[in-house]
């Protein structure tokens, strides 16, 4: 055994191979880390560019939207509508031209409302799976499986 160990240690090619393999292992490891880093960095950079392009696109769309709103307003402007109405043979109504009819339950509409019913939160909604506990999930499932008629509507 001692002779074997001695012979192994004495063999110079074995020592060299050991060093080469170690160095190679380090190089391979470093290359893997570098490749991984490069991959992540490249993906981040691509996403960054995409964000920049999307921001520019949002601005372009916003301007286009404003232009279209103005164009539509010009097409619906009083001067344009009057010109088109007259061309179609209409004339402004006078009080004598009107006939009023009693319609039970009719309530004239008021001024326009621009209130939006959609959420304007800028944050991305986190799925419930990330926030609810197992108990919450279990309760949700239970409620979904319960027939609608059995639920109480009071809250």
């Amino acid at each position: 055994m001692t002779t074997l160990t001695h012979a192994y240690r004495q063999a110079p090619w074995r020592v060299q191979r050991q060093i080469v393999v170690t160095v190679l292992a380090v190089v391979v490891f470093a290359a893997m880390v570098a490749a991984l880093y490069l991959s992540v960095t490249a993906r981040t950079a691509i996403l960054g560019r995409e964000i920049q392009e999307l921001s520019a696109e949002i601005e372009d769309i916003r301007q286009e939207n404003a232009d279209l709103t103005i164009e539509l307003a010009r097409l619906r402007s009083t001067a344009e509508m009057e010109r088109r109405a007259r061309a179609m043979g209409f004339s402004p109504a006078e009080p004598e031209d009107l006939e009023y009819i009693f319609v039970p339950g009719y309530w004239p509409s008021g001024p326009v409302s621009f209130a939006s019913h959609t959420s304007h939160s800028g944050a991305i909604a986190v799925p419930a799976a990330y926030t609810q506990s197992l108990f919450d999930w279990f309760l949700d499932r239970l409620q979904e499986t319960t027939p609608a008629g059995n639920r109480t509507s009071q809250r």
Binding site: G48, A93, P95, Y100
Partner: protein
């Protein structure tokens, strides 16, 4: 052989060791020196990105039915990236040809740019069509093979076209006096644009925009400027402006104002004033207006209203019980107040009258007598309660207060009590008159006029609540007066009457004071204030024509204009004739 290289190896080893220690020493130094660390961080940040101020898109303005009155449109800034510029001659030539700019000035600017500047703005607010032509030219020249070594080869390299939004008014001059305008610097002037400038403009936010794609983040959401919904009805506004233009042509008046308000809530439905300008060409302001008060005479131009003021004198007298509609008065054609003789408009004596007759025939002598019966204290108390001499608080920029002299003022004389009673010697704005009249239509309660129906911010709509401005007279006095004015119009077969609708109102013809204190003869301000339907008022209309030439009398110039406005108003606001409405209410 190997020994020969030992010293060299040692030298290299020492050098690398030294470099290593230097790096470590520098790291330690920076770590322990906040100034050095801050400096290096600053240097790093300087090239890593830039601070950019993001201006929110200016909010839009709509009428009460959702028609756009003011929006935004893309325009273009033309500039040159000086580092990329190859041929200033081509650029100057292109800009002079397609944008009509002066070639020499542009060329001079390009070859002598300010020191250290890398981007040179040439012009701004270029419309889309022209910018598109330039863009096509840039693209066509960039596609042509050019000899880069030849300095004079045509090139538009470096010419940049950047887009941004600018205020635009799709209706041109419609409601110009109410809207106001926005300059190229983005600031609102006059009307709603000035009054709500901060809300419309929003809050600019400065954000750090990294140039390194690795550090790019989503631009924070900047809230847009608030959207405004006005109380104006676009169709009625157009009709009123047309009626005013025709009235000026017909009567020869220099200028005019018409205000239509819903007396139940103070909503201004239409407000027309001359002259008006196309808001898309706001730079013409100086050539259209002599001074700022002309932009919207309805709120900014005080004047002596004349006999329309008698409405409020009579209101005060009825409320205090000094007179009733049947109180007799013997009109002798003249009355002494404060040592000065006051006469009727025709300088005639009208004999025995009642208060109804005094209003019907617009007798100055009678109303001056009524004011003396009230006494100065009570009279001016009522006038102040009606809001004269104070701003109404309407949400439009540049409101004037007018002038109501009161006892104790250096320039008040006892005769003023008599003249003020019929609207001379006191200045008011049309909007003050409309607000004061709302007390008579609302059972004594006065409402503050407003043009903002609602403000929309981030999806939430905030409606303007009704604001009351006091109760100057009782409900009984208001009803009595309204009835008196309706009967007096019917009694004289006024041109203000509208078939099918019972209206109440009063004419006014006022002499115009000169800068020297005397009144001109033959030149007047003609006015009319009226409302209807009398039993359930849905509108107050005020008409003011300045210096009409066809006739000096309000009854012949302003009263027919009132009738025309009412005829349009009842159609556009779906107000059925009294008979139909009363029949409907009975069901």
């Amino acid at each position: 052989m190997r020994k020969q290289f030992i010293w060299r190896s040692q030298a290299v080893a020492v050098l690398f060791t030294f470099l290593g220690f230097s790096v470590v020493a520098q790291v330690v130094r920076i770590q322990n020196s906040p100034e050095a660390a801050a400096f290096l961080r600053q240097q790093s940040d300087r090239y890593a990105g830039q601070f950019r101020t993001i201006y929110p898109t200016r909010g839009e303005i709509y009428d009460r039915n959702g028609y756009l009155l003011a929006g935004n449109q893309t325009v273009y800034e033309i500039g040159v990236d000086l580092k990329a510029m190859r041929n200033p001659h081509t650029i100057a030539l292109a800009l002079s040809t397609h944008l009509g700019m002066d070639y020499n000035r542009v060329y001079e600017k390009l070859i002598n740019p300010p020191q250290g500047q890398v981007y040179l703005p040439i012009t701004d607010f270029v419309p889309a069509q022209k910018a598109e032509v330039l863009q096509q030219l840039i693209e066509s020249l960039s596609e042509q093979p050019t000899d880069s070594s030849a300095a004079d080869s045509p090139s538009l390299a470096g010419l940049e076209i950047r887009s941004h939004l600018q205020r635009s008014y799709p209706e041109g001059d419609l409601a110009a006096n109410v809207l106001g305008f926005v300059t190229r610097e983005g600031r609102g002037y006059f009307g709603v644009e000035e009054k709500y400038n901060d809300n419309l403009a929003g809050k600019p936010v400065t954000v750090w925009v990294p140039l390194d794609p690795n550090r790019v983040e989503e631009t924070p959401k900047i809230p847009q400027g608030a959207t405004l919904i006005l109380t104006l009805d676009r169709e009625l506004q157009l009709a009123v402006e047309d009626i005013l233009a025709q009235a000026l042509y017909r009567t020869g008046a220099e200028n005019g104002t018409i205000v239509v308000m819903d007396p139940r809530n103070g909503e201004i439905l239409a407000m027309a004033s001359t002259p008006r300008m196309d808001l898309n060409r706001f730079w013409n302001y100086d050539s259209v207006y002599q001074n700022a008060s002309e932009f919207n005479r309805a709120v900014s131009m005080p004047y002596e209203p004349g006999s329309v003021m008698k409405v409020f004198t009579m209101a005060a007298a009825l409320d205090t019980g000094v007179v009733s509609p049947d109180t007799p008065f013997l009109d002798t054609g003249a009355i002494q107040v404060g040592g000065v003789t006051i006469k009727n408009w025709d300088e005639q004596a009208w004999g025995p009258q009642t208060m109804l007759g005094c209003m019907q025939h617009s007798l100055n002598v009678c109303l001056a007598w009524v004011a003396t019966q009230l006494g100065p204290q009570t009279f001016y108390d009522y006038m102040q309660r009606f809001g004269f001499g104070h701003a109404t608080g309407i949400d439009l920029a540049g409101e004037a207060t007018g002038r109501l002299k009161v006892p104790g003022d250096a320039d008040w004389y006892p005769v003023d009590l008599g003249t003020n009673a019929f609207g001379q010697g006191v200045t008011v704005t049309p909007i003050q008159m409309v607000m004061a009249a709302s007390a008579i239509t609302n059972g004594g309660r006065m409402v503050t006029p407003h043009v903002l129906y609602a403000m929309v911010e981030e999806g939430q709509q905030y409606n303007t609540p009704i604001q009351y401005a006091g109760t100057p007279i009782s409900a009984e006095a208001a009803h009595l007066l309204s009835e008196m004015l309706a009967v007096s119009l019917e009694g004289e077969s006024s041109a203000a009457l509208v078939p099918g609708y019972r209206v109440a109102g009063k004419t006014g013809t006022a002499q115009i004071p000169t800068p020297y204190g005397y009144y001109t003869s033959g030149i007047t301000n003609a006015s009319f204030i009226g409302w209807g339907p009398v039993d359930d008022p849905r509108f107050i209309v005020y008409v003011w024509l300045e210096k009409p030439t066809s006739s000096i009398w309000g009854s012949e110039t302003a009263a027919p204009v009132f009738a025309e406005v009412v005829r349009k108003t009842v159609v556009l606001l779906d107000i059925p004739p009294d008979a139909v409405r009363q029949k409907t209410m009975e069901r």
